[in-house]
């Protein structure tokens, strides 16, 4: 099967993307490094927020790719490559995790032996929450993800030339294994990176909460980038309203899912009313955090939910782009709300600061640069995929 059978003509993405990406990266790096120099304590929290944001998009995109294979979905095949390219930054997690490794002392109270010994409960937890084991977990998880990424993506790319259907089969098997692995690893990430910022706090639904945000933001990134590329003519011309509608529906579903999980977590803790759980929410109901908490409910659930309710907004590319950007922003807000309040301990009070907002530049820059680089060699549409034709013919 030659690539042109599908009617897709490969066009190179403009260089500007790479340039804009590197500009963002450089500015972000300069500001970020000065942030670390000015106040390394605060900077490590701010960096963590952006790191998890980046992680959400790369590993979330890999999850979406796996989901397509596992569910044998064909409607999303025409823009599966977009998710694959967004996931391409995944190996960089290894590098981006390093600054955090040097700052575990600032981030995690459990990394201080004297603090651990002040409390029986923490002593009991220290079998899990200790620096060496933490580092092993972090790198093991990232390496597992990279392995899955490499194998799945390699199969997908090989298919462009050979059109071999067996590769789809292999990827289905890989994806079916990846999804439970992803469920466990993402839970561990949520527990290790975010929940353990408060060494004593626990919430069993926390992993699912992070997963909801991860899947939602990866979907929003996919929608945003796909529509942009489609409008500029880089994707297959046969992508139409029906595809947009499905993306919109999925975002709608995950918005509702996030709301459901967020509320479940809140309600159980509120109802149980145990001080060892409620303090986490109390922290986020003090001072300015109260405004952010309310803002989060409104912007992360109410607005997107009602916005995406109508058929029109799920098919109109302009509106979809708007809500995708919106969702990406509120996912950042969500992470900010999860992580930053834990900064206020050891005489560190929280106050708004420029350092909080410089690291996203780095990661957005990286995503853009990687996207451009990968797209130079690889088709933006999986032309050899046997599901592509059905995907393009997709009707609601």
């Amino acid at each position: 099967m030659s690539p042109n059978d599908s009617g897709y003509i490969k066009k190179d993405l403009p260089d500007n993307i790479f340039k804009a990406g590197s500009l963002l990266l450089v500015v972000g790096l300069v500001l970020g490094i000065s942030g670390f120099l000015v106040d390394s304590y605060r900077a490590s929290f701010a960096y963590l927020v952006s790191f998890i944001f980046f992680l959400s998009i790369v590993v979330g995109s890999l999850f979406l790719v796996a989901l397509e294979y596992a569910a044998n979905a064909d409607w999303s095949t025409p823009f599966r490559r977009v998710s694959e390219f967004l996931a391409a930054g995944l190996p960089l997690l290894l590098i981006f995790a390093i600054p955090l490794m040097f700052n575990t002392g600032s981030l995690f109270q459990w990394s201080h032996a004297d603090y651990i010994h002040s409390d029986k409960m923490l002593e009991a937890k220290s079998a899990y929450l200790n620096t060496p084991f933490f580092m092993i977990r972090v790198f093991a998880i990232i390496i597992i993800w990279i392995l899955f990424y490499t194998f799945i993506i390699r199969n997908s790319r090989k298919q462009d030339e050979s059109g071999n259907q067996l590769l789809t089969k292999r990827n289905i098997i890989l994806s079916v294994i990846f999804i439970p692995v992803f469920a466990i690893t993402v839970t561990l990430v949520a527990v290790d990176w975010i929940m353990s910022l408060e060494s004593k706090w626990f919430s069993t639904i926390f992993g699912v909460y992070l997963f909801a945000g991860v899947a939602l933001s990866a979907l929003a990134a996919l929608t945003l980038v796909s529509i942009k590329l489609k409008e500029k003519g880089f994707l297959h011309p046969a992508i139409k309203e029906d595809h947009y509608y499905s993306l919109g529906t999925l975002m709608f579903a995950f918005t509702a899912f996030w709301g459901y999980i967020a509320f479940s977590q809140y309600m159980l803790i509120w109802y149980g009313n145990l001080p060892e759980e409620t303090f986490w929410f109390m922290q986020r109901w003090e001072g300015g955090w109260k405004i952010i908490s309310i803002l989060l409910i409104v912007t992360h659930f109410i607005v997107p939910f009602f916005y995406l309710l109508s058929y029109e907004s799920k098919t109109n590319p302009k509106k979809l782009k708007f809500i995708s950007i919106w969702i990406l922003c509120v996912h950042f807000l969500d992470l900010y709300w999860l992580i930053m309040p834990s900064m206020s301990k050891n005489d560190h009070a929280y106050s708004l600061n420029w350092i909080d907002f410089v690291f996203p530049l780095v990661f957005i820059g990286v995503i853009l640069m990687v996207f451009q680089k990968v797209s130079e060699k690889i088709n933006l549409v999986p032309v050899g995929d046997p599901k592509l034709k059905r995907g393009l013919d997709f009707h609601l």
Binding site: F263, Y266, M267, W270, Y271, N273, L309, S310, Y311, F394, H395, L396
Partner: protein
């Protein structure tokens, strides 16, 4: 058969592609009243038939939101307005606890209204039969064929033209469908009525036996048989045969302190009054005094008993003797009782007893006012007049 009995001209096709094409052509040809029947949903059919967005979503939205508002108000009314119940120590109106039910009801109302709306408004319920039922055409499209009918009501309908048109679309069979002759059904034939009666008896009996007998055979005694204590009943668990247990000696109730001078007629010393006679305390004292003391001592504590001699009249409490009693002595008499006056320790709690003492002091002062008291009252009443 006469043409005015014609319902439609029907056409059968082999493949989904053909039916989509046929639907599109029929729309383009300007026919409005036509329908498509397929054994499974064919994607893209709505567009091919020229149908816009269904309006059913508005019904769903409206009833979903109504469900949410209704149940939230209902819960507010039951829990926080009409009959306040404390649940789990939460406020009466605690929104987080209401949200799950609001959510469920939203879904319930939305789902039911969508379903009912669909069959009632769009399928025009009580239509319980359709001219296409029981036709060869319907048999074919319930199997593996795809059908399209153009109704005779359509403005452009001309039988021959329509037949030709449908054939030109590639239908392998085109046939006329006539309205069925009117049939009448007698619902309440005697056999059916008897059947209903028997059915009613059988189901009632089965329900009764299940709920009242079957559920209580030994394996299902639902924990009824177990050693337990019933209030106010005897029990052989304890040797004295009493089911209700007195509290252990020395038990102190919450909010109470043991009274040290209990049982002494003339205690050498008494407690001092811990309360400050605020308006709130005095109002409490008044309420309790009127409830507990006034039957014997009178509403104004002057000994104007309402007992009509059935019990020794309580003496006045506004005499010099009682005025000169310390607060603690009055408290002692309430707590301990005195001669025929019984103890009120168990009926009136500590705070209320002190409040009564304060109120008794008010009554005493009201009946023996000092010069300054009188002036104060005069000033107040004259200021009221000038107002």
């Amino acid at each position: 058969m006469a043409d005015n009995n014609l319902y439609c001209v029907s056409a059968l096709f082999d493949t989904p592609d053909k039916i989509i094409n046929a639907a599109r052509k029929t729309t383009e040809a300007g026919y409005k009243k036509f329908d498509v029947n397929t054994p499974y949903p064919v994607h893209g059919m709505d567009k091919a038939m020229g149908m816009g967005q269904s309006k059913i979503g508005y019904i769903t939205l409206f009833f979903g939101l109504s469900g949410a508002v209704f149940i939230f108000l209902f819960m507010w009314w039951t829990f926080a307005s009409n009959y306040n119940i404390v649940v789990g120590g939460k406020p009466f109106l605690s929104a987080p606890a209401f949200i799950p039910i609001t959510f469920e009801t939203t879904v319930l109302f939305a789902a039911i209204s969508t379903f009912v709306g669909m069959i009632a408004v769009f399928f025009k319920l009580p239509h319980n039969s359709h001219p296409l039922h029981d036709t060869e055409y319907m048999k074919a499209v319930s199997g593996d064929k795809f059908g399209l009918v153009i109704e005779a009501d359509d403005e452009q309908f001309e039988r021959n033209k329509v037949t030709e048109f449908l054939k030109s679309l590639g239908a392998f069979q085109v046939a006329d469908v006539y309205l069925p002759e009117k049939e009448t059904y007698k619902l309440f034939t005697s056999g059916f009525v008897i059947f209903l009666i028997i059915l009613a008896i059988v189901t009632s009996a089965a329900t009764y036996i299940t709920l009242n007998k079957l559920m209580y055979v030994v394996p299902f005694s639902w924990m009824e048989v177990q050693p337990k204590l019933n209030a106010q009943e005897e029990s052989d668990i304890f040797t004295d045969g009493k089911g209700m247990r007195p509290p252990v000696d020395g038990t102190v109730a919450r909010g109470e302190l043991p009274y040290p001078f209990y049982g002494q007629t003339n205690p050498p010393e008494v407690l001092s009054n811990p309360t400050v006679p605020t308006k709130k305390i005095l109002e409490l004292g008044k309420r309790k005094f009127l409830t507990f003391c006034s039957p014997c001592h009178g509403n104004f504590a002057q000994g104007e008993s309402r007992l009509n001699g059935q019990f020794p009249t309580g003496p006045t409490l506004v005499s010099g003797k009682i005025i000169n009693y310390p607060d603690g002595m009055i408290y002692h008499i309430i707590t301990n009782g005195q001669n025929v006056m019984p103890s009120y320790m168990h009926q009136i709690n500590r705070e209320e007893r002190w409040a009564i003492v304060d109120y008794v002091r008010v009554l005493q002062r009201a009946q023996n006012p000092s010069q300054s008291d009188i002036q104060e009252v005069k000033k107040e009443s004259s200021s009221n007049v000038t107002k």
